[in-house]
């Protein structure tokens, strides 16, 4: 699973940091850094973080498969 945070919308509420601290971390007061490649054992926590984000800035999904069709 991959994640990307829309940091133009992120307001630093940091709910994701509490729910999935291995993937999301605050850098300073409100700068968010995250690991785009979500480890399998963190997937559930990241789903919860995405659901809890007050501005719904966290997107989850699979990476594009190069084989395509």
């Amino acid at each position: 699973m991959r994640t990307v945070v829309d940091l133009t919308h992120c307001q630093g509420y940091a709910q994701c940091v509490f729910l999935a601290p291995k993937v999301f971390q605050l850098h300073g007061e409100e700068g968010l850094l995250y690991a785009p490649a979500v480890p399998d054992d963190q997937a559930e926590r990241v789903r919860q973080a995405a659901a809890a984000c007050p501005v719904q800035a966290i997107l989850l999904g699979e990476e594009v498969s190069v084989d395509g069709r």
Binding site: R2, L7, C10, A35, P36, E63, G68, R69
Partner: protein
């Protein structure tokens, strides 16, 4: 008619953020025809903002920033092959491998590349980097992890400043050389650029302003060893990052007849490309960093934005307009928005700070390193920048969208006196800076009725 537009052949040229989001949006809009995405990089779409932050800090690997799909766009991905031309009459995209792809409608999202160091021989020295691609970031992160004596960053724009911040956080000595009077001055104007300079120096950056780097030196065996500056000084360093801004990927369109130039491809508010006579096309669309579009809030000047959020928003508008007939089309009116994380501060911007004559600090203060600065132009709010005050930004977005008077009315400020005293925004001519602007006002010159065609070769 609408039924026809939802079928047929669409080709997207450029497989990064804008290309991916457009491909997804086309399917969401009901497009059932064939979709091909061409990308010159061999990788599936990946995210670039982490490359100058998490990746350089060594927190995540450079090849781990692949973008998630919102939905599978069911596209044929032609990755690792460059588009070399566009034949608008024959309606074909020409590829570097000699093939061509026919289209009914085409979307150009070829973005930008890093502006290289102008002297190719010096740029080829081992240890000299630019930062745009996954490979750039991986190579640079490796060098930073190896513990160089010093890193030289040429250019004090957002990318250069973020690189310097990552270096300091890793405990590396770093010099930033900027031709302008301060870092970020081209994007944020005089007052905030002074804060940026203070933050850099407080964090131990050897910041040199008002200088240019004249020569990159090798050690005789092809390794970068230092640079000479215009003030006669010399910087000894093992790694050099050239952060001089971006170049738009438009050269491949030189024979296409489109209005494509160094500032991007001109398009209308509906993302339709103009040809070089200023006549709008109806089957060639543009989105993302490579586009140049008019915005009513900024005097209908053509804007070139190198912003993540603009790539997303404009791609969605372009996709909508590609599969809908004229009266149902939407304009791209989103306000420019960007962010940067550096030296422990979160800087966010909405509007166009360079479209301003005065600024006020409406909340917080420079001393607190926490503030909201409002930019005004001829008595109207045109932009706002927050430092560690992101939650306030939406309020100012509303002021900009409603053309609120400047200085902002009571209620916008927690420090009435500061808000009453606008100071000049002090936005310099971009020509005097090392770093390219990430928001460029590219002019609207109604008196210029001439089209100058200068064919290559």
């Amino acid at each position: 008619m609408a039924g026809d537009l939802r079928d047929g052949r669409i080709v997207i040229i450029g497989a990064s953020l804008a290309g991916l989001r457009a491909a997804e949006a086309l399917r969401e809009e009901g497009f059932t025809g064939s979709l091909t995405v061409v990308g010159d990089e061999p990788h599936p779409p990946y995210d670039r903002p982490p490359l100058s932050k998490q990746v350089l800090l060594g927190l995540v690997a450079a090849d781990s920033t692949g973008l998630p799909m919102r939905r599978d766009p069911d596209a044929e991905w032609r990755l690792g092959v460059r588009a070399t031309g566009l034949d608008p009459l024959g309606k074909r995209v020409l590829l570097a491998d000699g093939e061509s792809v026919p289209y009914d409608r085409v979307l150009i999202t070829t973005g930008t590349r890093a502006r290289p160091w102008p002297k190719a021989e010096e740029a080829a020295l081992d240890g000299v980097f630019t930062l745009r691609t996954r490979e750039d970031a991986g190579g640079l992160a490796e060098r930073l992890a190896a513990g160089p004596r010093r890193v030289l960053v040429i250019g004090g724009g957002f990318t250069g400043s973020e690189i310097a911040s990552a270096c300091r956080e890793r405990g590396l000595d770093v010099t930033v050389a900027e031709r302008g009077p301060a870092p970020l001055v081209g994007a944020l104007g005089g007052t905030l650029s002074k804060l940026a300079a203070v933050m850099q120096r407080n964090h131990g950056v050897d910041l040199r302003t008002g200088v240019t780097v004249t020569t990159l030196r090798g050690d005789g065996s092809g390794r970068f060893s230092g640079a000479e500056l215009s003030d006669g000084s010399r910087v000894e360093a093992d790694v050099c990052v050239v952060a001089l801004g971006a170049v738009r990927n438009v050269e491949w369109l030189a024979d296409s007849g489109l209005a494509a130039g160094p500032r991007g491809i001109a398009c209308d508010a509906g993302c339709r490309a103009f040809n070089m006579y200023g006549i709008v096309t109806d089957d060639i669309f543009v989105a993302g960093d490579v586009s140049r579009f008019p915005h009513p809030l900024f005097g209908y000047q053509m804007l070139s934005l190198e912003h993540w959020g603009n790539a997303v928003e404009q791609a969605e508008v372009a996709a909508h307009n590609m599969v809908n007939p004229g009266p149902l089309r939407r304009p791209h009116l989103a306000l420019p928005t960007f962010w940067s994380t550096q030296f422990g501060l979160n800087i966010k911007s909405v509007g166009v700070p360079t479209f301003s004559d005065h600024v006020v600090i409406a909340q917080g203060s420079l001393e607190a390193r926490r503030l909201a600065m409002v930019y005004g132009y001829q008595g109207r709010v045109t932009a706002a920048v927050t430092v560690d005050m992101a939650k306030s930004l939406d309020y100012y977005r509303h002021l900009i969208e409603t053309a609120a008077p400047f200085p902002p009315p009571p209620g916008a400020a927690d420090r009435a006196i500061a808000a009453d005293i606008p100071v000049p925004s002090d936005v310099p001519d971009p020509k005097g800076l090392s770093h390219g602007p990430t928001v460029a006002l590219t002019g609207y010159l109604p008196d210029r009725r001439l089209t100058v065609v200068q064919p290559r070769g």
